[in-house]
């Protein structure tokens, strides 16, 4: 259906060019947390990725405007017909910050070492699932092969998780890489890391192999990047307002007014991947009835939730994927609020309104539990609104708060009615990871047409063909109400006016090579 329906988000263009770019200066950026590790292959938390991403280059890069994979360390590549072999032709003349050159052998060593990394490297490990090995074809040609078709690997090769590190770094223990840092070929090098305090980076002199997306050729503009860890959001906001900082991450709705008043630029971009929504457990008798799932989805007023709970500019869900995900398909007509239809679907399913307004069938009340973890400040108010909205059509919702650590356990045991969550990933294969019955199958879906669509897209090497299959999968998921998509998660930064060209990458994280102060 729709091929690449991607738009660069309105306010996400990152700085208007007043004056001309100049080199030099220090950017001080505050994030809320420290993952305790400065190896980009081993961290998954946004706050730490902002800094560690600048240390490494990836084989490829992904255009945030089109979702297209473009050259970076690899000048070109080929993908085998069955999407099991990826051959990268490396750019010559690239060196790591320890002075050693980039070769096909180093790429092999990087990927071979990933399975040995610890629990922190779950992202890198999942990208290399089914990894068969890497062959050094020649000094500058590496062929990565998989046991099964793995179309998502090309996008994965553009991520920080598979950023390439020097041979000496890869031979270190995961712990050493975490605490002492890594040698990458990136535009910045690590100058100091104080846990829970700061991560300081310095410009790499002689850098000449930037991504084809970088505006500036050669070295970065900024001399230094200092990432301060400031856990209190009020302190982050106040410090940016009072000029103690140049930029901050994780801006929430509550901070917006203060920042706007202080002449700070707010930059936002929707995270690609699966939007925030309710995933139904289909092993529960209630949710085996498609009409009930559809009714719930139709009774949710997405615009109200996006408008009252989330930072301004947040979009209500228009598909199971957010609009910044490659191969996103607009299904907004199917996700519009329709209480009347929700009511008649529930009537058809045999759930009749009772005297207290809650529907019942054979003496049982129409009620279910939404399980959620307090990872974002927006979760509770969103769910309380959903609770009210569903009550209006006669559905009784209980909210069950759990800790993040419980999430895995609950998913594995399928011990929930409905789960509230989202997943950030700039590749539509996230649909297979989430909904294929051949994998974890968290939602206990029965095998269906959807499995075939998901398996075919991961084996499709023609982008147009893959986009078509991904579109069909989204349609299937929304039509059968496998999940009730609700709202897109948006990453919002506060940036001082003097900072220019601080831009989002395709995964809604930041790119600082082109950033300048003036």
């Amino acid at each position: 259906m729709s091929a690449l329906l991607l738009s660069a988000c309105g306010s996400g263009d990152g700085g208007t060019g007043t004056g001309s770019p100049s080199s030099g200066g220090t950017l001080t950026f505050a994030v809320g947390s420290d993952a305790g590790c400065v190896d980009p292959q081993q961290v998954g938390s946004n706050d730490t990725i902002y800094s560690t991403r600048q240390l490494v280059d990836s084989l490829t890069d992904q255009d945030p405007a089109t979702g297209k994979i473009v050259p970076w360390l690899a000048e070109s590549w080929t993908v085998s017909k069955d999407a099991t072999a990826f051959t990268f032709k490396l750019r010559p003349g690239v060196t790591f910050s320890d002075g050693t050159p980039l070769t096909a052998q180093v790429v092999k060593e990087n990927f071979d070492a990933v399975p040995k990394l610890g629990i922190r490297a779950l992202l890198a490990k999942s990208y290399l699932a089914g990894y068969a090995g890497t062959t050094v074809v020649d000094d500058h040609t590496a062929k990565v092969t998989f046991k099964q078709p793995n179309a998502q690997f090309l996008q994965a090769s553009s991520t920080f998780s598979l950023g390439i590190e020097s041979s000496a770094t890869v031979r270190k223990t995961p712990e050493e890489r975490c605490t002492k840092g890594v040698s990458g070929s990136g535009p910045f090098t690590l100058s100091s890391y104080v846990p829970n305090q700061s991560i300081a980076l310095a410009r790499r002199t002689g850098y000449a192999w930037g991504s084809s997306l970088f505006k500036k050729k050669g070295e970065a503009y900024l001399d230094k990047l200092v990432f301060k860890i400031v856990s209190e959001s009020g302190v982050r906001t106040g410090s940016l307002q009072s000029g103690q900082l140049d930029a901050i991450g994780s801006v929430g709705l509550a901070d917006e007014a203060a920042l706007k008043g202080a002449g700070v630029r707010l930059q936002a971009r929707a995270n690609p991947g699966v939007v925030f929504g309710l995933g139904f457990n289909e092993s529960r008798p209630l949710f085996q009835d498609e009409k009930v799932r559809q009714a719930i989805s139709l009774a949710i007023d997405r615009a109200q939730i996006a408008g009252t709970v989330f930072p301004s500019g947040t979009k209500p869900a228009t598909s199971v994927l957010s609009h910044t995900t490659p191969s996103y398909t607009d299904l907004s007509s199917r996700l519009a609020l329709d209480k009347a239809r929700a009511g008649s679907l529930l009537d058809e399913a045999g759930w009749k309104p009772g005297p207290d307004g809650i529907r019942s069938k054979n003496g049982a009340k129409l009620s279910f539990t939404i399980t959620w973890a307090p990872v974002a400040a927006t979760n509770q108010p969103s769910l309380e609104l959903i609770q009210q909205q569903l009550k209006a059509v006669g559905v009784d919702v209980t909210l069950k708060l759990i800790q993040v650590a419980q999430f895995q356990v609950i998913q594995q045991k399928s011990d929930f009615d409905a789960l509230w969550g989202n997943i950030t990933r700039a590749d539509p294969d996230i649909l297979r990871t989430s909904y294929s019955t051949a994998l974890a199958n968290i939602y206990r879906l029965p095998p269906s047409e959807l499995d075939k669509l998901l398996d075919r897209q991961v084996a499709a090497t023609d982008p147009a063909e893959r986009a078509k299959l991904v579109g069909q999968a989204q349609q299937w998921i929304v039509e059968h109400a496998v999940v009730a998509p609700v709202v897109e998660l948006q990453t919002e930064l506060g940036v001082a006016k003097k900072v220019h060209d601080l831009t989002f990458d395709a995964s809604s994280r930041i790119q600082l090579h082109d950033t300048w102060i003036g």
Binding site: E175, V235, V409
Partner: protein, 315 residues
Amino acid sequence: MRRYVIRRVAQAAGVLWTAYTVAFLVLDYLPGDPVSAMAGQGLDQTSSDPAQIAQLKHEYGFDKPVLVQYAEYLGRAVRGDFGDSVATGRPVTSTLADALPATLQLTTAGLFLAILVGGGLAVLATYTSMRWLRQLLLSLPPLGVSVPTFWVGLMLVELFSFRAHLFPAFGNDGLRGLVLPAIALAIPSGALISQVLAKSLLNTLNEPYVQTARAKGAGRARVHLRHALRNASLPTLTIIGVLAGQLMANSVVIETVFSRNGLGRVTAGAVGSQDIPVVQGVVVFGSFVFVLVNLVIDLVYPLIDPRIVVAGRPA
């Protein structure tokens, strides 16, 4: 005296073991484990391949029976080895050792300010003959004890950093960065010192020996500072043990508000990610400090006031 010391040391060891065991049981009771906690970060289900997670749990030994895990941890802990942090892979001992100086600096500065201001307040309140001033000064400590440390910290930042631009709002850098957090930390402790000292000063001032000193013609200030304060300080000494605990607990909050690295910050992070080895290390270290402070006080007390041991049980 010797039997007394041995008994106290044995009690101290018992407290440490109990704290360790309780911390272990609490962490074990919590659903999930460090591997699940890390995998659940940001609810990123991309990373939730159950086979992979099971394998990792096995590698870290979280699939062993609880008693076996407990025995293993305890066995190593007795030898001073608290293992490695699950979140960073660094040894727990060096993680704590790195964070300790910053916390020590903060708590020392906080305690110093608390004694200075809290003590000064109590002396002034009991010394003044102006009734309204005394009432005003005596009403401050209950206020200081009851305002949340968190709120105090944020107010200080708002006023002295964001508005007046006098001190940095966050970080460990230098003496200027220490001022606001130390003040915030000193408020509840200073209030406690002030309350206890003021009360015992007022009691002491009514004692017969003070009347005698006055009758002998000693000046008012001399009686107040030389005679009464010295005796009134003893009850204040006993609450230093309580203060040590209070300072450590409040430093978790203060270090978070002011984004200072330190034990409090390490603790908050470790609890969040269920980093069991680090939490265990912190608990044992915290109880060790608490036990040590109380032990020292108990041993010093009879030296200052010999009647206490003569009377049998030390306070």
